[in-house]
Amino acid sequence: MSFSIEKGEMVLIVGSSGSGKSTLLNMIGLLDRPTEGSILIDGVDTTTLNDGAVSTFRNRKLGFIFQFSNLLTDLSVLENILLPLQISGEPHTEDDARKLLSAVGLDSQASKRANKISGGQAQRVAIARGLINKPSIVLADEPTGNLDSVTSAKIVQLIKSMAKKLNQTFIIVTHDRRHFGDVDKIITIKDGQAFEGEQMEVPA
């Protein structure tokens, strides 16, 4: 499969269960390697990077939002958001993290331990953590998959507003695109092939 995504686009990857949406996202996120072909991000062929460079690339260029927020339960909410900055080793302050926390509406929860907040709150923290390093691309794997419909709608709204505000590329895997309304591009995965748009047309 072959496709390209422009900077600042919000892209949905859809498809049925087991179609390979998450695998594709993991490959874009450098969490998995393709057996063949290449993935270019900002002009860099990421399949040629070694492990250390992959880690640095993930830290600097990519932000992740997982289905199960995947916060570190030993850390506080604020510490979770700060973690990518600390891993980068760049000088930083808590200000950016607190601003993001405020943006996701959780400024009062900063010092709470990550396992002491609700699932919806945890997902909002995960969004803040995914954005803290100002990544080129934010990858979200079923970000609402573990939430009820009301909370899901709020999370989608939050993601869309953040994407608009930050002008970052968002690639979102979802099994239900209706939550997201209008987006810049939809890529459908079916039978190992990628098609642009929702209409699953089999090429001649």
């Binding site: 996120g29 880690s55 640095t56 830290n59 995947n70 570190l72 339960t73 030993d74 600390q86 891993i87």
Partner: protein, 395 residues
């Protein structure tokens, strides 16, 4: 604080069971070493102490020939002019036969070690007189002190009884003398005169026909650490004599060498104990890594390098090592303090000579700290090999 250290600390302290288990493993390893040291080194030092106190002093002077020909008084006066010397006393030894009438029955005991002492000087250079638990020490030319083991062999002699001592003099003639038992001696651990008879040195000289002779001079120092200095000074001062001067350790080498090997073996066993505590840490840290698989995957996915994961878990090993070494050393010192203050002994034997060996204490703490870090290397390495995607699938 360094984020990896903070993360290591939080991960560890939120798993209190594992943390306590790992610290206990280190603590027990250190405690084994401390207990071994207190008991076995304490026993060794107690034996050295008692040999010094009862038999050799801090420096023992003998002659390559059987007897010191020079006047003991002149030597003692010479020695007592050395500032480090507190006192010196001559001793003379022989073997004899003791006869006693007990309940109308004659009991003979042959090959009895007989020690001749100068009562006035001996109580200054030796504490053996303190082992006389019944009666008093040798005080006159015809008084005799008998050791408890000897008393038992003689059928239960009491203070005030008369005993006959027969000794073969230097010319091969039997010399006999009656003595009055003035005291009975029993020392904890049996390092004193428990198996001997003690009489006045001049009486023994008379019996042996060796007027003016002694076979050793025990020298007590006010600073035992100067023993080698005094020994060397003495030998330099009498270059033309055949004197032998030895520290207490040298004089009792034959008696102590086997014991030292035993201590080395016990210490080795202690260090093996410490090694097994390292295996316990490996197991506990593997459990910690397994319990944090998902978190490791998350950290890797947000950019943590393998090195960062390695450092986090090595930091955990360092935390376990530092706390374990601290708690273990504190516990060990507590035990040492208790043993020292209570003058610990076993079954009424000699009281352990307990010392704080700060060099060994520091070495043990440092070794356990290093072992804890070494034990964390393999689990840390395993943590770095986890693949982010697979790790994050772990529930």
């Amino acid at each position: 604080m360094e984020y990896r250290l903070r993360l290591a600390k939080k991960m560890l302290f939120n798993k209190k069971g594992s943390l306590i288990g790992a610290i206990l493993a280190v603590t027990i390893g250190i405690l084994v070493i401390h207990v071994n040291f207190v008991i076995f080194q304490g026993l060794y030092d107690a034996i050295v102490r008692d040999i010094g106190d009862y038999t050799t002093g801090d420096v023992l002077i003998t002659d390559e020939a059987d007897y010191i020909q020079r006047s003991d008084l002149s030597l003692i006066h010479w020695l007592e002019r050395i500032p480090y010397v507190e006192a010196a006393a001559p001793r003379l030894s022989a073997q004899g036969e003791l006869d006693v009438m007990t309940n109308g029955r004659l009991i003979e005991e042959t090959r009895v070690p007989v020690v001749g002492v100068d009562p006035l000087r001996d109580i200054q250079a030796s504490t053996v007189y303190k082992t006389v638990s019944d009666g008093r020490y040798v005080f006159s030319r015809n008084s005799i002190v008998l050791g408890f083991a000897l008393v038992a062999d003689l059928g239960g002699v009491r203070v005030g009884d008369s005993v006959k001592l027969t000794i073969v003099d230097r010319w091969g003639q039997d010399q006999t003398k009656w003595f009055t038992v003035s005291g009975l001696a029993r020392s904890p651990g049996g390092q004193g005169f428990d198996y001997s008879a003690v009489i006045h040195i001049d009486t023994l000289r008379d019996l042996l026909k060796r007027n003016g002779n002694s076979d050793s001079i025990m020298v007590k120092l006010n600073d035992p650490t100067k023993a080698e200095e005094v020994r060397d000074f003495f030998l330099r001062s009498f270059p033309n004599d055949d004197f032998v001067a030895e520290t207490v350790e040298e004089a009792s080498e034959a008696q102590l060498s086997g014991f030292r090997s035993g201590i080395a073996l016990i210490n080795l066993i202690g260090y093996f104990g410490m090694m097994s505590s390292a295996f316990a840490i490996v197991t506990i840290q593997m459990m910690l890594v397994n319990g944090k698989t998902r978190e490791i995957g998350v950290m890797r996915s947000i950019g943590a390098r393998r090195k960062d994961i390695l450092i986090i878990f090595i930091f955990q090993g360092m935390i376990i090592g530092a706390i374990g070494a601290g708690v273990g050393t504190a516990t060990g010192l507590g035990y040492t303090f208790y043993a020292k203050e209570t003058k610990m002994s076993f079954n009424g034997s000699l009281a352990l000579e307990v010392t704080y060996n700060w060099e060994k204490i520091s070495q043990t703490a440092l070794l356990s700290f290093i072992l804890a870090i070494a034990a964390s290397l393999y689990p840390s390495f395993r943590a770095t090999r986890l693949l982010p995607v697979e790790a994050m699938r772990t529930v």
